[in-house]
């Protein structure tokens, strides 16, 4: 039932609105709304019940294991939320003077310093509001760099075929042509393809390392040399930073610009699809182009650095300072971890992934890159299973929901057929991984004994499999009375 179906004309929550205004307004009649908007007219209790019930129809980290590859679904510590929601932080206006926000700005400044250190970059801007915006900002800086040198012949961005879809979409938004390069048998970027693609027309290479295939690009130093020698710059997509946090710094691999998804590595909530936050870090060459605002400290006072001090800055990308409440949560998380905790994240995420990969392999699942170490994630391919039984990766994913697990990432990366990209974050225990393996074994058996059970899964949720095709053909995007 929709909230609108609970609605009754004239029902009103008087405790949630000021007393009616008797004063007349000077707003001209033609600018005044004639008919009230169709918003629900429900009691406070109706609304509370309705949305509490809706919440119960969701899977979440607080209730289920999410082995979602490239999404880093780790526990979101409750302290990060409650401390970021202290009343003084919540009530502070973004345009309030800097001296009324020294506590908040201190957190932002220290977060910048922490992120600089763990990534090995020279400067960090906290402004990007999501991974894709971090990418847009990063590639825009690459473009500004080339243009500032009068180098206008660079029209292409090189992107591996395993990359997230946001990479090519971003390059196009920055006015670049995308050159896709292939992956070799071992899951690394095909070095011959890279050599053939690199040239005086190359503006840069966008790379995720470890890649979305769950392996560390072994040739990264050579790749970096090739691109730099051709005059291009290296972009690091930080989607998989969790795998190397505190172990390897992207700056040391030769990257010129990086974005970090705080909603992954730094445990800020996914919130059912945002808000994200994706600070960008830059190496020396891109320092003059960094987006504003950035926080600095002068004689013990924190303040904003604006366009005036960074005249070549590529500008502003949010009305204020990005998703500052998300940044506060990431700051709190990073202080909880501390220097001695950062590398443990990468270590236990990697331990979990390699253990789960081994156990699934023992259980009879085909691993896409069996000769490689898993980074923090790995791929199972069900190509063989599909040929034998007709069961697809989607069927297995949906059946996992019945077993109380969120599905892994399916059909991404696109180059591995019938793939499940599996990432067990460091906050998951061995018992959870073992019970996941047990369920996967049961599902594998069912594929042969009871395939219909998989094809019609899930069965335990309030709804069974939903019709995507109908949704797109018979568009119903708003409720009508």
């Amino acid at each position: 039932m929709l909230i609108f179906e609970h609605s009754r004309p004239g029902r009103c929550n008087y405790s949630q609105s000021p007393t009616a205004e008797t004063r007349t307004s000077n707003i001209p009649q033609n600018l005044m709304r004639k008919k009230p908007p169709m918003l629900p007219e429900v009691s406070e209790m109706d609304a509370v019940r309705h949305y509490t019930r809706l919440s119960q129809k969701n899977f979440s980290i607080d209730t289920e294991f999410y082995p979602l590859g490239s999404c880093t679904m780790k526990y979101n510590p409750r302290a990060c939320n409650s401390l970021a929601m202290l009343p003084q932080f919540l009530s502070r206006h973004p345009l309030a003077p800097e001296d009324t926000g020294q506590g908040y700005l201190a957190c932002m400044y220290e977060l910048q310093e922490i992120l600089k250190d763990v990534t090995g970059m020279k400067s960090v801007s906290l402004t990007p509001m999501a991974g894709a915006q971090g990418e847009l900002i990063g590639v825009a800086m690459i473009r500004a760099y080339h243009e500032s040198r009068g180098d206008r012949a660079r029209t292409e961005i090189i992107i591996p075929d395993a990359a997230h879809g946001t990479n090519p979409a971003t390059a196009v938004m920055c006015g670049y042509k995308v050159v896709e390069i292939s992956t070799d048998k071992e899951g690394d970027v095909d070095m011959d393809a890279l050599k053939a693609a690199v040239g005086p027309q190359t503006a840069g290479l966008m790379l995720t390392n470890p890649s979305t295939l769950g392996v560390f690009e072994k040739n990264i130093v050579e790749m970096s040399r090739l691109v730099h020698e051709a005059g291009g710059l290296l972009y690091y997509d930080g989607a998989n930073l969790n795998a190397i946090l505190g172990k390897v710094k992207p700056g040391d691999m030769g990257f010129d610009v990086i974005h970090m998804n705080l909603h992954k590595t730094f445990s800020t909530p996914h919130g059912g699809g945002g808000p994200g936050s994706a600070p960008v870090g830059v190496a020396d060459r891109l320092l003059p182009f960094i987006p504003v605002p950035v926080v600095t400290i002068d004689k013990g006072i924190y303040r904003w650095v604006t366009e005036k001090e960074i005249p070549q800055s590529i500008g502003r990308f949010s009305a204020h300072m990005g998703n500052s409440g998300v940044l506060l949560r990431a700051y709190i998380y990073s202080r909880l971890l501390g220097a001695e905790g950062m590398h443990r994240i990468a270590e236990f995420a990697t331990l979990n992934a390699n253990y789960l990969m081994k156990e699934l392999s023992k259980a009879g699942f085909e691993i896409a890159y069996p000769n490689r170490r898993a980074s923090h994630e790995f791929i199972v391919t069900l190509k063989d299973l599909k040929e034998k039984t007709g069961i697809t990766a989607m069927d297995v994913a949906k059946r996992l929901i019945d077993k109380g697990f969120h599905a892994p990432t399916t059909y991404f990366p696109l180059l591995v057929p019938e793939c499940l990209l599996i990432e067990p974050a460091e906050t998951e225990s061995k018992e959870t991984l073992d019970s996941f393996v047990l369920s996967m074994k049961e599902i594998l058996e069912e594929a042969y004994t009871d395939p219909e059970m998989l094809k019609t899964a899930p069965h335990t949720t309030s709804l069974q499999r939903l019709d995507d095709v109908k949704a797109a053909r018979e568009l119903d995007l708003t409720w009508k009375q």
Binding site: L2, N13, A20, N30, R33, P36, M38, L39, E41, V42, Y51, S55, K57, S60, I61, T63, Y75, N76, M85, Q88, H93, P94, L95, T100, G101, G131, A140, T166, A169, V172, G175, V178, K247, G273, P275, I314, G315, R316, S318, A319, N323, S324, G325, R335, L336, L337, A339, E340, G341, K358, R373, S462, L463, R465, L466, A471, A472, L475, T478, W479
Partner: protein, 451 residues
């Protein structure tokens, strides 16, 4: 102190299964000279009690002020239920609803949100939200250019939030789009139809129309929308969603209505929080639905014919279309929209109208009180919603400093954004202000000015 549950026995058993001697062995594919040493700038870890103390101290440092700043972010009462429900783990820690059967809560909520926003803006459809108001406007500009086909020029009034204009140029810069600024009438504080005259007969993709504008002044939206359509351009409305409880929605502007409506969703139950996270909204006419960026939820049925919800029209999006997508945008501001939807359900149409009317009335009362001070006058003659530009008889900076000592944030100095408005502040009084607050502000300002 990371949140890691492994016991020593677990680690031993897991390494044995893998066939590795140590955790470090698992990193043997990484070239050894790439591995970093100790982190120098990261302090050592704190426990929850220690970080709580640190954060409470920092929050105390920031304190509380009686604030009259608006300028795109507004202080409104937020019902207690909004964030208590929004931060339930099932909303807070859930993933993007790609697995529809495991995400019906978020999906249905977003469908309800789309319905509410479409109705509030008077448009046919709404997406599931954008990052913020500024980036939503940039995406609207890109969308207008995509659907217009022949023109890449967009008319942008200087009464649009100055930072929004910066964000738009930063985002569309590399796509060969020309943003042409339209000056405002310095007497009335809004755009005049005459200033569009030079563009009659030219190929223009869109005209952006704010309501209310950055100065809080109301634009002649009907005439501007009709001007756009007569000149074969799209009309993009930039609106305050709360104000729409009182004001004509963009879908009803002029004879045909605006084509796209965007804005900042913060007034709908989102705390100020130093600027974010907020959410941008975007709604449009049905014929533009395939050009809209971002996530969209559709109603469909399951195998048994029961109604349910899924992400739809995904063929527009980057994870499917890659380099040919309508935008690179991937995420929306799910949790913020969760709060906004609960907020709108709790206040309802009557509550929202009262909040808008009270805010408008408070600002008008404040304006009258301030105008009674010698040398203080309203800057613009145009009618206002819940913000007002006020010209002071002396430089603003010093005045605001002195008010701050009294724990009052007396508005925004407009000099930085509009150099021609040398001694002007932009003030705002929402429904959260009681008569005593308005009197206190007036008396303090009077005192400061007569010193």
């Amino acid at each position: 102190m990371p949140y890691i549950p492994h016991t020593k026995e677990d680690v031993t058993a897991m390494l044995a299964s893998i066939g590795a001697n140590s955790i470090e062995d698992l990193f043997d594919e990484i070239p050894p000279d790439l591995k970093n040493g100790k982190l120098k700038e990261v302090p050592s870890g704190l426990n929850e009690m220690e970080i709580s103390r640190l954060m409470s101290e920092r929050a105390e440092t920031d304190g509380h002020y009686l604030s009259f700043i608006g300028a795109g972010a507004y202080e409104h009462h937020i019902p207690a239920a909004v964030w208590q429900i929004t931060t339930r783990g099932e909303f807070y820690s859930s993933y993007t609803p790609y697995q529809a059967e495991a995400s019906q809560g978020t999906l249905q909520l977003l469908y309800e949100y789309q319905t509410m926003m479409a109705s509030l803006t008077g448009m046919d459809v709404s997406n599931a939200s954008m990052y913020d108001g500024a980036s939503a406007l940039a995406e609207a500009v890109l969308m207008a250019v995509r659907s217009h086909k022949s023109s890449r020029r967009v008319l942008m009034p200087s009464t649009i939030h100055p930072v929004y204009r910066k964000v738009v140029s930063a985002i569309v810069k590399n796509q060969n789009i020309e943003i042409i600024e339209i000056p405002y009438c310095t007497e009335c504080g809004h755009i005049l139809l005459e200033s569009l005259a030079p563009f009659v007969g030219q190929d223009i993709a869109a005209l952006v129309i704010p309501q209310p504008n950055f100065f809080g002044v109301l634009e002649q939206v009907d005439a501007l929308t009709d001007w756009a359509h007569t000149n074969n351009a799209l009309a993009i409305g930039v609106v305050n969603p709360l104000a729409l409880a009182m004001l004509t929605p963009p879908g009803e502007w002029g004879s045909k209505g605006a084509d796209i409506a965007v804005g900042e969703g913060q007034p709908l139950g989102i705390p100020l929080s130093s600027g974010g996270p907020y959410f941008g909204f975007m709604a449009c006419k049905q014929r533009l639905v395939r050009q809209i960026p971002g996530r969209i939820i559709g109603r469909t049925t399951d195998l048994n014919g029961k109604p349910g919800f899924v992400l739809t029209l995904q063929a527009r999006e980057q994870h499917i279309r890659r380099s040919k997508a309508t935008s690179n945008i991937c995420t929306n501001q799910g949790l913020m929209v969760t709060a906004a939807t609960i907020y709108m359900a709790l206040v309802g149409p009557e509550g929202l109208r009262r909040i808008a009317e009270k805010s408008h009335a408070n600002t008008m009362i404040l304006l009258e009180q301030l105008e009674a001070i010698k040398g203080v006058k309203r800057t613009f003659s145009g009618s206002m919603f819940y913000e007002a530009a006020i010209t002071l008889p002396m430089p603003v900076e010093n005045v605001l400093q002195k008010l701050k000592v009294q724990k009052i944030l007396g508005g925004l100095d407009l000099k930085e954004y509009y150099p021609e408005l040398g001694q002007t502040i932009l003030v705002c009084a929402t429904e959260t202000k009681i008569p005593a607050d308005l009197v206190k502000f007036t008396e303090c300002l009077n005192h400061v000015l007569s010193e």
